[in-house]
Assembly symmetry: C2
């Protein structure tokens, strides 16, 4: 690791701190300007179907990295990282049910584990804020409201399930700007999947999200829906894999890729 990468605000600094057990909290706001990622680990037997699921559903499942079986290093996005130790908290699922939360995977790591890193909404939210587009749940210091829709993902093997979306209310004159900004980040869920009346998504009450917190929608604002990184985790749980490991909500992996590295080029 180069010295510059150990600066206070670098991802390397935070990964080292997390690895040493000196940071166990959510990662939002750490190493600003660098992309954070969702983590899903599945055994090799299910990795090819999960990879196919991600290929078929790129908006909820934007792949940043897929590791070789047994290799805990995400070589493309953080060549000196260790996915077994560098996230503050993990969740272990057996047959689709969460059985424990851990801070370290070294004792449970297996030679057949394949790790998937998926782009995260932090990237486009930061871009929206830089353009003065409001992000309501950040204003409210709450969790983004998340809804399970009646739209189906394209299935792959055992991975079958609905599209899950997050909702952010955007002032009507700024909706086009929000789309333009998010279009640059297909690896962070990209443009919204739906803008306006939530009925076609099968959502009947925006005040009652399936996960996260409800947020106020002001007069003149439009509900805007993005494909959500909860989708692949939800689909993997429904598939009741014998074993799956994910990051704990909000406790993401910090990559060495800047948000700009993730932008279209």
């Amino acid at each position: 690791m180069k010295t510059a990468e150990l600066a206070r605000d670098s991802p390397g600094y935070w990964r080292k701190k997390i690895r040493a057990g000196r940071w166990r909290r959510p990662t939002s706001g750490l190493a600003p300007g660098y992309a954070q990622a969702n983590l899903v680990i599945v055994p090799r037997d299910h990795a090819s179907d999960f990879l196919l699921f991600c290929q078929r559903n790129p908006k909820p499942c934007p792949l940043l990295e897929v590791t070789d079986p047994g290799d805990p290093t995400p070589r493309a996005v953080a060549g000196d990282a260790d996915l077994r130790t560098d996230l503050p908290a993990y969740r272990v699922y057996v047959d689709g049910s969460m059985v424990e939360e851990r801070t370290d995977l070294r004792e449970v790591w297996r030679a057949d584990f394949v790790a998937f890193l998926l782009g995260c909404s932090f990237t486009f939210e930061a871009a929206l804020l830089r353009a003065n587009v409001p992000v309501r749940h950040i204003e409210c210091d709450s969790n983004v409201p998340i809804f399970i829709t009646t739209q189906h993902c394209r299935p792959a093997g055992p991975f079958v399930g609905p599209l899950v979306v997050s909702m952010r209310p955007i002032p009507a004159p700024m909706v086009s700007r929000a789309v333009e900004i998010c279009a640059r980040y297909p690896l962070a869920h990209g443009v919204p999947v739906h803008i306006g009346d939530p009925a076609p998504l099968g959502i009947t009450d925006l005040g009652r999200p399936d996960y996260g917190d409800a947020v106020p929608i002001h007069s003149g604002e439009v509900p805007v829906f993005w494909a959500c990184g909860v989708t692949p985790q939800a689909v993997a749980r429904r598939a009741r894999l014998p074993l799956m490991i994910t990051h704990a909500p909000g406790h993401m992996f910090l990559t060495d890729m800047t948000d700009e590295d993730l932008a279209l080029h």
Copy 2:
């Protein structure tokens, strides 16, 4: 198939004609406005590594569709098509060597075949021409010049090899415009991988391409290099798979997706 889709210039019209054995020539220029695709078929045993290779090398390998094992229908891009019959010519490779060219795969199709459809340069070339950016090999009515570079693709399992690029000379004032246009089509190789002096790619003589034909580079023009769809086929041949089937050069699959469907949205 809907009546409108059987119009003279529709992909469905041409697929039906090809299926009936009434078109055995290259597909360039057929069904203008619709995206054509490269085809690679590998047995299931190698499909997950090949899928991973494409995920790790999205510029040379932009995935439009991956079929389920044994299913000859590319459901996302042409729901009534049959990949066994709807291309004018196929090539069969055994242990990395071409053993025959066929016009029909029905006799050799297997329940473990997985088909990969990859975006094709026709899509961005049509967009360049619409914007009055010249495409030299089309002007010359020759094949695009293709070079094997000294840059390595990210490997996956047995799939290892160099990046292969195509070259188009672009007038210097139009190079930015060409990049802007191609940026809309990440599923058709996207923006150029290299612009200008070919030495860093390990290319010493632009007049001697590894495949295709040399084209003149006029004064004031810059050589511009795009990741080429030959890359995955070349890598798959090097891997000496027991069996692999591809389209014959220039004899592509016609999808029902318009070039605009493939553009960023």
